[in-house]
Subunit: 306 residues, 2 copies
Amino acid sequence: MSLLAVGTVAFDDIETPTGRAEKVVGGACTYISLAASYFVKPIRIVSVVGDDFPADMLHYMEHRGVELDGLQIKKGEKSFFWAGRYHSNFNSRDTLDTQLNVLADFNPVVPEHWRDAEYLMLGNLTPQVQLSVLEQLTKRPKLVALDTMNFWMDIAMEDLKKVLAKVDVLTVNDEEARQLSGEHSLLLAAKAIYKMGPKYVVIKKGEHGALLFHRGEDMFFAPALPLAEVIDPTGAGDTFAGGFMGWITKTDDTSFENMKRAIVYGSAMASFCVEAFSIERLKGLTPAMISHRMQQFAELVRVDFN
Amino acid sequence: MSLLAVGTVAFDDIETPTGRAEKVVGGACTYISLAASYFVKPIRIVSVVGDDFPADMLHYMEHRGVELDGLQIKKGEKSFFWAGRYHSNFNSRDTLDTQLNVLADFNPVVPEHWRDAEYLMLGNLTPQVQLSVLEQLTKRPKLVALDTMNFWMDIAMEDLKKVLAKVDVLTVNDEEARQLSGEHSLLLAAKAIYKMGPKYVVIKKGEHGALLFHRGEDMFFAPALPLAEVIDPTGAGDTFAGGFMGWITKTDDTSFENMKRAIVYGSAMASFCVEAFSIERLKGLTPAMISHRMQQFAELVRVDFN
């Protein structure tokens, strides 16, 4: 099985209450692909960078089993850049700067030999670009997951609804689920979003864990692991999505029961992500480290009523 | 086994984004005792009201196994009154009015025949009153739990620390845990609070569930149940504490494993509380209803990795 992932590969400037990092590697597709690479190979990415993007980072991604045939490298142009500052609670942030650069006229091209992808993760991008990728595929993937954000709900709701109608899984945060559905209750929000298309709705609540809804009825909740120190939450949601889709692609099982396992793997990968700036913590993880973290998640909710 | 509970019995005016209730029954001790009454009898309360407090409510409490020998009824005086307005997210609220009335010079008296209490819940009150109750007991209870709030941390931190040194369990919300400890990480906050006295720290996160820490090391997390509609969050934390202490008193077991069960029972009782204004939803619950809700909580986190 292989996973096709679409999203940004970019640079970030990040300021947190405890530190800062300048022009570090970021981007949804970077986090998704590195997280997923701990479960399955190959990961195939469709994205765009300028020629300012470091070659050694691209080599590292290839080393982790990420195939770059769908990555456009634009000569003389600059990679997408985002700068943000986290508030004292780490749960909210301000965008300080966004430079679209190569993303301004990004026209995604799925290489011919990737058009029969079995699993597809549409990372956060304009709904039009997400839709364009879907339309290039020659057969319907077994599972399509889509991540989006409030920004697209504000300016491109109609396009977003078009692509939502074609996907199986939506991942959003709690405020985005509320905005998209107009419902305050996350249960009612998930029911409303189910009617828009996605059989599965994953609501990411950051330090408060993640909820999975199936057909607006069955529910599953995975907590986040309480950590001694959070360094940088950037990319945690994408890392979650990467772990989630990596597990599903590896196991080739889209049942609700397996989705639940995928949610815990996603949460475990996200718990690593926030322990360092940029993608640093996603380098050099081992199966033993992931397995140990999974045990911590299992222990956190284990209770015996017998 | 019997449970001794101390706290307010009062009136509330409540305004939420979807409705309002005027001069309804409230007070920490009311919620604690009614929730606990579904697990164990008798519940013995130490509190104070004015003669404006409805006799039929007191009869109802007695009917549920709540003994009122320690409830002072002050002739010609008024009961404690609180008015608050919830914000659109239900997670934060403004206090609109506080009339201490009988609480202004409340001098709690534990009846002679209750002074060998085995389980004690010190509901949110001035740390001095909480300490005074503890000092009236002729033997150390098997377990003492204490609830408090940011207000006492602001104006009576020294008194609060004195009583904290004498209790086994502290229940606070996440922001209060951070304020008390000076730590942002809830894991580090729990470690710091453990050093102040309580072996167990329970961090209530409202719609985001509850964390239990044992000796600043072992952790357990119970989610809140996603609900279609929240009507009134008032008293949810006290109801949680009542269910928690009710279960522990009933089972006479203060092990970490049993505390975990108690956290889930507390969460289940709190999930009922928020479904109506005041204590309405805590009237007329049945063992079958509580058992069904417990199954929903178990199902919410159930995942099988085999």
